[in-house]
């Protein structure tokens, strides 16, 4: 019998499965958690998403998201200036949080996913540091909060729109694309498949 043994990671139920076809999902019969998910064309899709994300990353962080005008004075804000302003307000901890959740973890995820997918493509995944890198990717998953910042942008637009002349800048489009790319990683990257690749890789 060529079945693989899995355990549900939410209720520990043992499941025996034949090899899944691409695009299929296996659910836990007891708690309905998605135990195994074979994703369609995972490597190529992930590579595309990573490239797009990395290209858009710096404009999204540095370009002004919006600007406002009061009594002839202009002011604009981006993710980076927001972090800097909080730092100058002496809230160093909060500034560090923003850096970590919205700049550091997304770029870690993009770069590590890119390197791992290139490694799988080049069949060079047997190096030990690939494992380490993939574990960083796994850990970064919990702490990535770009989409929360996106909603934060929308909330601040609504808060300020009655107060002053508010105009949206190109940065907000870059930022939206970045949020899409980073979140698309969750859909495209097949963690189980990468682990199998790492397992089967021969030097």
């Amino acid at each position: 019998m060529n079945q693989t043994q899995y355990a549900c990671n939410e209720c520990d139920y043992l499941i025996y499965l034949d090899a899944l076809e691409e695009g299929h999902v296996a659910c836990c019969p007891r708690c309905h958690h998605h135990v195994v998910e074979r994703k369609l064309n995972s490597i190529n899709r992930t590579l595309a998403v990573c490239f797009a994300g990395l290209i858009i990353f710096f404009p999204a962080i540095l370009q002004p998201l919006m600007s406002m005008r009061i009594l002839g004075l202009d002011s604009s804000a981006s993710l980076f200036t927001g972090m800097k302003a909080i730092w100058q307000n002496d809230l160093h901890f909060v500034a560090a949080c923003i850096f970590f959740f919205c700049i550091f973890t997304p770029i870690t995820k993009l770069i590590s996913a890119l390197i791992i997918c290139l490694g799988v493509k080049a069949k060079k995944i047997h190096h030990a540091w690939f494992k380490q890198l993939f574990m960083y990717y796994h850990k970064a998953d919990t702490w990535e909060m770009l989409e929360v910042f996106m909603i934060g942008i929308l909330v601040s637009i609504f808060k300020l729109k009655d107060l002053a002349d508010l105009s949206l800048n190109i940065g907000i489009i870059c930022f939206a694309v970045l949020v899409l790319c980073v979140n698309a990683l969750k859909i495209t990257l097949d963690k189980a498949m990468i682990w199998d690749e790492i397992d089967n890789a021969k030097p």
């Binding site: 209720c11 043992l14 019969p29 309905h32 949080c97 934060g152 601040s156 609504f158």
Partner: protein, 209 residues
């Protein structure tokens, strides 16, 4: 596809432990340190001291919830004068200006979600320790929601960061961030740690005992 597991066996019953990093099943030898054969991270049957850690972190986040709401999260200064806004007074201001949808989003993200998360974790913890149980499926679902919504409470902190850097017109009009933001950030991080330290498999373990 045929399911061979007719007896409802868990991995634990079979002496197998699941690696939480790479989801590899591995033989577990009790009484020694076990490591995943694939990714070499330490593995355990269940998270280490899951309940104690979760209790401690949940109580800490409940304590941090008080300064997070009592201290001003930002101050709106016009010509150097102004009053600090806490999270709740900010929401009341939004209601006063009739921005109901935005008020609802901020209220849910920064007040309801963290509080519901703390209360939810407390309910899960108490349900494990008392014999009175409500459905395991429901509690697992609850845990999933708690895990999913955790990070959304950072919303207000991000809004403050944006407002502070955007509204900077010298002495005429200025928004300054307050100490409430730090307390708030600490509280959100504590709740995320608390949810991560809770092992949902404990909810199902009682069945076998």
């Amino acid at each position: 596809m045929q399911n061979r597991n007719v007896n409802g066996l868990t991995a634990k019953d079979q002496g197998l432990a699941l690696c939480m990093v790479c989801h590899q099943l591995a033989n577990y030898k009790s009484g020694e340190n076990n490591f995943c054969p694939r990714c070499e991270s330490p593995i355990r049957m269940r998270f280490k001291d899951s309940l104690q850690r979760c209790w401690a972190l949940t109580i800490c986040s409940l304590i941090a919830f008080i300064p997070a709401n009592a201290y001003p999260i930002m101050t709106f200064l016009t010509f150097g004068k102004g009053q600090g806004d806490t999270i709740l007074s900010g929401i009341f201001a939004l209601i006063k200006f009739e921005m109901y949808p935005i008020a609802a989003i901020v209220f849910i993200a920064s007040f309801v979600v963290p509080l519901a998360k703390i209360i939810g974790l407390l309910v899960l913890l108490i349900s494990l320790q008392s014999r009175k149980t409500f459905s395991k499926q429901k509690r697992t679902k609850m845990y999933r929601w708690i895990e999913f919504f955790g990070k959304w409470s950072m919303l207000d902190v991000f809004v403050v960061a944006l407002l502070v850097s955007l509204v900077e017109f010298g002495t005429i009009l200025e928004i300054v961030a307050g100490p409430g933001a730090t307390a708030f950030g600490i509280m959100v991080i504590l709740t995320i740690f608390a949810a991560n330290s809770f092992d949902p498999r404990l909810l199902w373990d009682e069945e076998s005992n």
